[in-house]
Chain length 380, copies 2
């Protein structure tokens, strides 16, 4: 008997209630019944996004929502700042480039967060020149969380719009969209929101709407002006993924019942437990301690060990799926997600599987010491 | 007790097997396990698309796949022909316009099909000038099927590429992509493919790839070059809607087991039954008899009757959801879908509900005469 456990940074495990919602007979999307579901979904998303601004549901992955941000806010020839500290930061640059937007890249060493000084020196005194700053809340490839609050503080009184990729951070770590003055937040369904992939989300501040109305970039499917117009009739411009939206309401209800603060605490404790276990096992974290994410932890593969084999053995022999290293970290790190429908005992089992495979691969450590370190964190 | 019956042109009813597949625990998309699922899905799609060319799965609605066609094939300043005989034909023009493509519009009277002569006179002698012709297989808003085989015959030996919106026709009525030489076919998941909305599909001929490589339109999320590159590793460029793809394989297996020809026959018979019933009830079809679609039948609301009330009563009182009229046909027509997981007895029940509500609304006819006309078709 092989049981499967998922500790990847999207898709995250589906709660049984969500599975049940996905399996319901489908209803037509242009009915009062579905309009009520859509309204409930948008209200629930506003709670998770911590915003009173517009939030739109797109039929796309998170990258589609990222493209919606770039294509709607900017025009060819505009200048924007992109923060590249990992694979997903680079995606902002690639998107800008696809739309002819000149991006001034802030290169951040992988494993570190962008500093407020880097942002300030790039933005200061150039109010109308830099139309948007694109950053990543949680850089999934490195396990780093950027300090969005501090970055927003620098930008909020300028004409520049702040856009945050919160695909793997939303509903996992705190992001006070309105309070911190974040203009645009994009996310997806398959991480903190405990759904299959297939929905993209985007919130838009009043300040951002001004850029959207001025943008000349070609867009149709992701045109947020059309989304706003349709939303006036509680509708979407194009057919929406009905089943995923129905299941979204189930997931949002779970998040609301747990309470966003409690969700953040749960995820933080799990990440602390993973970090404590890694430390006890003599493993090094990839991210700087100062910016280690509570959504995902990247751990360096000990020298001499085959990182890809480690991940494959855990998954294919024992059914415990964690993520390997991405891009330049392939084979050199592995990543354990602490987001979505995962709780402390899932972390314990994943760590015990990690220990088992490390042991079998010949890595020297005292069996149980990582699990115990995690238990201690959870007991506190 | 109210039971719900769906006879709308997308979403169509979900088979219980598909519901079950949607409810399965999710798996990670970058695993050998999911790669095998993806390969099976693409093979199955090729069967339904009747092509040996590339078919890509997009995380989008059908309109996203339409945008992928326009953005990948054409550049700003190019000229294309769009055929407008209903709301979805107009969407091609809108998409071209969004990307700065000059579209020469062939206006077709609603309810009629475009003629081969209209296409020929617009394309003839202008080989390199017109880069693409955009048509609709089944125009859902009017219940018209265009003669794609004849249109393709005109275009296949030119440099022009033929793009067909088969969103509501694929897996319902015949479309021999390779045999007829259709270059690009776009579709979606929620019609003939018996799935929830959320997947877009697009097939690309060798001839179309040449245009794609030359296009200068901004694109990233829908960039088919990236999709092709990823597919080399049995992957998608961005996270794919795992659950929908798993369920897609269930639906494709059902289509394969029934056999495409049998599916077409089933849908044609159901549409014939609807047309026969309408005729027996003294109701007029909106589409010309010569081009009435076997995927959906639009029926004119008898004068003096409130068409919106008819549709609402059937849905809200009796649980039978058919579609009302779209755009300029709002309140003036209603539409019964004969696509996807619908069989003859579903048509009978829908017609009996239609008769009941027509009767209650004071329309004069012999009760049962429509149902009986349909039964006769099914007995043949």
């Amino acid at each position: 008997m092989k049981k499967n456990y998922l500790l990847t940074p999207g898709p995250t495990p589906l709660p049984p209630q969500v599975c049940e919602a996905l399996a319901r007979p489908i209803i037509h999307h242009r009915t009062p019944q579905f309009q009520a579901i859509l309204k409930e979904a948008v209200e629930g998303l506003k709670y998770v996004f911590q915003t009173k601004s517009d939030v739109f549901i797109l039929s796309s992955s998170g990258t589609g929502a990222m493209e919606a941000a770039v294509a709607n806010l900017l025009s060819s020839g505009d200048t924007a700042i992109t923060v590249e500290g990992g694979k997903f930061g680079e995606r902002w640059t690639e998107l800008c480039s696809a739309y002819g937007v000149h991006s001034e890249i802030i290169k951040v060493e992988w494993g570190k967060a962008v500093t407020v000084e880097q942002i300030r020196s790039q933005v200061a005194g150039r109010r109308s020149q830099v139309k948007a700053v694109f950053v990543t809340l949680c850089e999934t490839s490195t396990g780093v969380t950027n300090d969005i609050k501090a970055i927003a503080e620098v930008i909020k009184n300028t004409d520049t719009v702040l856009v945050v990729d919160a695909i793997s951070g939303l509903g996992v770590i705190d992001l006070k969209t309105d309070e911190w003055a974040v203009d645009v937040v994009v996310s997806g369904s398959q991480k903190g929101l405990m759904l299959p992939p297939g929905l993209g989300f985007i919130s838009i501040s009043e300040k951002a709407w001004k850029l959207i109305e001025a943008s000349k970039s070609p867009r149709y499917y992701f045109d947020l002006r059309a989304a706003k117009k349709a939303w006036g009739q509680a509708d979407t411009p194009f057919t929406t993924p009905v089943s995923l939206v129905v299941a979204l309401n189930t997931a949002l209800k779970m998040l609301k019942e747990e309470g966003l603060e409690n969700v953040f605490t749960r995820c933080r404790k799990m990440a602390e437990a993973v970090r404590a276990a890694a430390s006890a096992l003599g493993l090094k974290l990839y991210a700087d301690a100062s910016c280690a994410s509570d959504a995902i932890t990247a751990i360096n593969v000990p020298s001499g060990l085959d990182g890809e084999k480690l991940v494959k053995t855990m998954r294919d022999i024992y059914g415990v799926t964690i993520a390997g290293g991405q891009a330049q970290l392939k084979g050199k790190s592995f990543r354990i997600a602490t987001m979505g429908y995962i709780n402390e005992f899932d972390i314990i089992l994943a760590l015990s599987c990690l220990e088992k495979v490390l042991y079998q691969m010949g890595y020297k450590f005292e069996l149980g010491i990582g699990v115990r370190a995690a238990q201690e964190v959870f007991l506190k």
